[in-house]
């Protein structure tokens, strides 16, 4: 019997040794995608594998995590765990996660499968293959975890189709489509580095801490299970960028450009997380501002970028505008979701007085001055028996696809309007960051599928709101105001029943 190899050699034998150089077909015919972006690789063997896992070890490890997750899911379902959540409103955060993030896991699975095919170095091919499997597993476990709530609450039933159709979901969808449509090195920098390394903690940790704080054990367990994968993905992001920067000096400006673009693209997607964190959680975890300072400013700007300066890489373009917006962005985005809530597959409502106090404490420079008055007016309208909705469709940004709600740098009272003309046509953009991205590749962004423009072209079920909602797969109870909604009534009814069935001592 053959002698057992030491781990490192065994790993090499099971991964890199499966690669061969083609002899009867030219290498560039087998791997046509790795040259056109201008990136130069001289020696693929310099790639240090960020995670040395073999397939058998990988399966064993993931199977154990899955076993734990499914045990928690069963226990939660059997004990009517949904009734122990902090409040019915909490589920809106998970609807947003299922509609907006889970399909990105699947898109990521596709992207990494594609990379594992297209790279001509065995190290990154195998790393991409592992990550592709991870992403598919995340998709499946998230669907399974959240499916339990679909038995009791609206908004969980049509997330896959919604992701392709609903206006606010075009924000994450178009972000990933943009990466999938790029060359392999740009997609790697876009997703592995800019998203998984720079921004994943901002995206993922808030949702999972939210689950833990609000009594959602299954989502929390899923989060723990995925988190160990995420740290491997982050390592891959870091290895990718270092490898590319070390391979050729000519790669540096190309990569800087991609970091500039993908930081801003990803940052705009996290605006939805900002709104979730500050407004959708009945039990608050931390404010967006605090999360941004900790996970981005401290860990990335102060931790990572000084190291990257060695390679000639500077912090992303427009980062100072993201920092300046940290007092504003969650309020602006949730205010948008609130007034377009008739067309969202979750419910929204005016924050409770105690939540307004919390927001005022967390945002002493902005909440009382700019946003509390808006909520007060919305409340007055609601108290008068009405509900404030934007009776129409909004102007959208051609790049990030968010309604043009963001304000001028330095003036939170004035919406920023940018426009670029390309090939005789005007395109509207929400910020200097999105305009810079558009102007770099206008041929790409002019093809954007903008929900508002598509509705007006008649491609979304019909010209009226009910027709569009039907096309979205939004059914009555998924959308609109939380107070008096289907889920609110269910929540109250089930808790009243529970109280009736429990005999207090001394009664």
């Amino acid at each position: 019997m053959a002698k057992k190899l030491p781990l490192k050699q065994r790993y090499a034998a099971l991964t890199r040794d499966v690669h061969w150089d083609p002899s009867y077909v030219a290498a560039e015919k087998v791997f046509p995608h790795t040259t056109f972006e201008g990136i130069k690789i001289h020696d693929w063997s310099k790639w240090e594998d960020p995670f040395r896992l073999t397939v058998d070890a990988y399966h064993k490890y993931q199977a154990e995590k899955d076993k734990r997750l499914y045990a928690v899911l069963d226990g939660f379902a059997q004990s009517q765990g949904h009734l122990t959540l902090s409040d019915g409103r909490y589920l809106n955060a998970m609807k947003l996660f299922l509609q907006g993030v889970t399909p990105l896991e699947y898109a990521s699975h596709r992207l990494f499968a594609d990379l594992s095919r297209n790279f001509n170095g065995p190290g990154p091919r195998f790393a991409a293959l592992c990550q592709s499997i991870d992403e598919l597993r995340h998709t499946q476990t998230e669907i399974h975890t959240l499916s339990n709530y679909n038995k009791y609450y609206p908004g969980f039933h049509n997330w896959r189709e919604m992701h392709d159709r609903v206006w606010y979901l075009s924000v994450p969808k178009s972000f990933f489509d943009d990466a999938l449509a790029a060359g392999p090195f740009e997609s790697l920098i876009a997703i592995s580095f800019s998203f998984e390394y720079l921004l994943t903690n901002l995206l993922f940790v808030p949702f999972m801490s939210a689950a833990s704080f609000n009594g959602d054990m299954p989502s929390m367990t899923f989060g723990f299970s995925a988190q160990s994968d995420e740290s491997r993905h982050m390592t891959l992001g870091l290895e990718s960028i270092k490898f590319l920067l070390e391979q050729d000096e000519g790669n540096v400006p190309i990569i800087q450009d991609w970091i500039d673009k993908w930081f801003w693209r990803g940052y705009r997607v996290t605006a939805l997380v900002a709104a979730m964190l500050d407004y959708m959680l009945p039990r608050k975890v931390m404010s967006w501002k605090e999360a941004f300072e900790l996970y981005f400013e401290e860990q990335m700007l102060n931790g990572l970028f000084p190291d990257l300066a060695y390679y000639g890489i500077r912090p992303p373009r427009h980062v100072e505008q993201a920092i300046a917006e940290k007092d504003l962005v969650s309020h602006q985005v949730y205010w948008t979701l609130y007034q377009f809530g008739f067309a969202a597959a979750f419910t929204t409502t005016v924050p409770e007085p105690s939540e307004m106090e919390w927001l005022a404490q967390q945002y002493p420079d902005s909440f009382d001055k700019h946003y509390r008055p808006l909520w007060n007016k919305a409340k007055r309208i609601q108290d008068g028996g009405d509900r404030f909705f934007f009776q129409g469709l909004p102007e959208l940004c051609q790049v990030c696809q968010i309604p043009m709600t963001f304000t001028e740098p330095g003036d939170p009272t004035r919406i920023a309007q940018r426009a670029s003309v390309f090939d005789g046509e005007r395109y509207n953009l929400c910020s200097d960051g999105c305009q810079w991205i558009f102007d770099r590749e206008p041929e790409k962004y002019r093809q954007a599928w903008l929900p508002v423009h598509q509705i007006y072209q008649g491609n979304c079920g019909g010209p009226s709101v009910p027709e569009v909602l039907e096309w979205y797969g939004i059914t009555d109870g998924d959308n609109g105001e939380y107070l008096g909604s289907v889920e609110h009534r269910h929540w109250q009814q089930w808790h009243a029943q529970q109280a009736e069935q429990t005999a207090p001592m001394g009664s």
Partner: protein, 110 residues
Amino acid sequence: MAVKALYEYDHPSRSRQELYGDDELVHVWWENNPMFCAAACFRVPTAIGWREFIEQMVNPWAASDPDFQPGSPTDWTLDGQPWQPDEARSLADLGIGHKSVVSFRAPTTI
């Protein structure tokens, strides 16, 4: 800078004016009113008169804010430039192009 691609990369805009027939998209922005999170986007015939556009489309939208008074908008701009609409003329005559932004100011209470 052009898109780097393996083939000639040239695809038409997915929002180009011809896709809307005789109509165009026009954005209307109530500049001093933060109740509206963004400007509104309307599909309108380029031949429509300014007065009809305001009465049929802009006023019902602006009335989402119960404090809106029809006829109160002033300080108009077109694509960022100060501008005075003429009620009797059409959007095309007034130089309002596809995806233009028209803004105004009007009293409201927050």
